[in-house]
């Protein structure tokens, strides 16, 4: 289904058409649920938290000042709610000293992975994503699926933009490493 811009539905809801909110829920439900699931690691809890986040966002819609995107605001609500449920902060700050951004070329990061067919690539990716900790999966979801900028992710998770960047580099490198390892194992 093709959705309109979020502000279109928000204006309708603010003018009394609460049914327009259903479109916003349908549009963002998978990402909101995925965020909650990656923090909580339990489908039932994640669904409950995601529902609560949508209800809370609806009740606070009048105070939403549009300084950030609606989606960023919503993801922040669900992330905070999920973190409160687990009573721990899942994303720890990485000291910059512990991480060196190597001078890789893009090709050296994905040797051979782009040469296999798409189904094989998806299988390799699935394996690599399963190997990632939940918190890293969360950043991948926010960055690639949610199309959030580094600053948006920083605002959602409370990490500094430089830390988000460093973590994404590290995750990306790990994904390629795992995919390459898996591919070598399959070939041997």
């Amino acid at each position: 289904m093709k959705y309109q811009d979020d502000n279109f539905y928000i204006e309708k809801v603010l003018h009394g058409d609460s049914s327009a909110y259903a479109a916003l829920v349908a549009k963002h439900k998978n990402l909101v649920f995925s965020i909650a699931l990656k923090v909580l690691n339990n489908r039932e809890d994640a669904e409950e938290i995601a529902q609560d986040a949508f209800v809370k966002a609806y009740q606070s819609l009048k105070s939403f000042e549009k300084k950030s995107k609606f989606s960023t605001w919503l993801y922040r609500i669900v992330y905070n709610a999920a973190v409160s449920r687990t009573r721990k902060r899942i994303l720890e700050t990485i000291p910059m000293d512990n991480y060196v951004i190597h001078n890789y070329s893009e090709e050296s990061l994905r040797p051979g992975v782009d040469e296999v067919d798409e189904n094989e690539q998806q299988a390799l990716l699935k394996y690599a994503l399963q190997n990632l900790p939940n918190e890293d999966n969360l950043l991948i979801t926010l960055f690639y699926h949610g199309n959030n900028s580094i600053d948006d992710i920083s605002s959602i998770t409370g990490l500094s933009p430089s830390n988000v960047k460093v973590r994404l580099h590290r995750i990306r490198k790990k994904l390629y490493d795992d995919m390459s390892t898996m591919m070598s194992e399959r070939l041997n």
Partner: protein, 137 residues
Amino acid sequence: MDTDNLLHDDFLASLIRKAPLESPSDEFVGKVMESIEPLAPPLYEKQPYFLWLKSYVPYFGLGALIVLILYSSDIPYFNFLSARDHFSDMFIHVFRPFIASLKTLVSSRLISYSLLIGVSAGFLFLIDSLFSRRFSS
């Protein structure tokens, strides 16, 4: 390759975006919609005219003061009003008792310094409170 380009790896991005996200149950949207109450539509109350005018009084006052200063100054093209004829003499008559008492006050160095600091601080405070109220979100 710089760090920003590394993050925007089209190959990995397209691969990840093709992988489906986790979905909640089919009843998810219905459950959310059951939990919400319709929001009251916004009320557009017309602001009384005098309230609207009142909010601009400081600006009118400031504008009038600037015009007064400009037109009674020695600046070319603005100096066709005589400050002495129009304002100073009139003010001197009205404020003579006040000026006389002020003269007594400022003859003391301690009082004049205190007044100077007090008036400056008061002025800064007024300007700050006026503009912070006006421009704060």
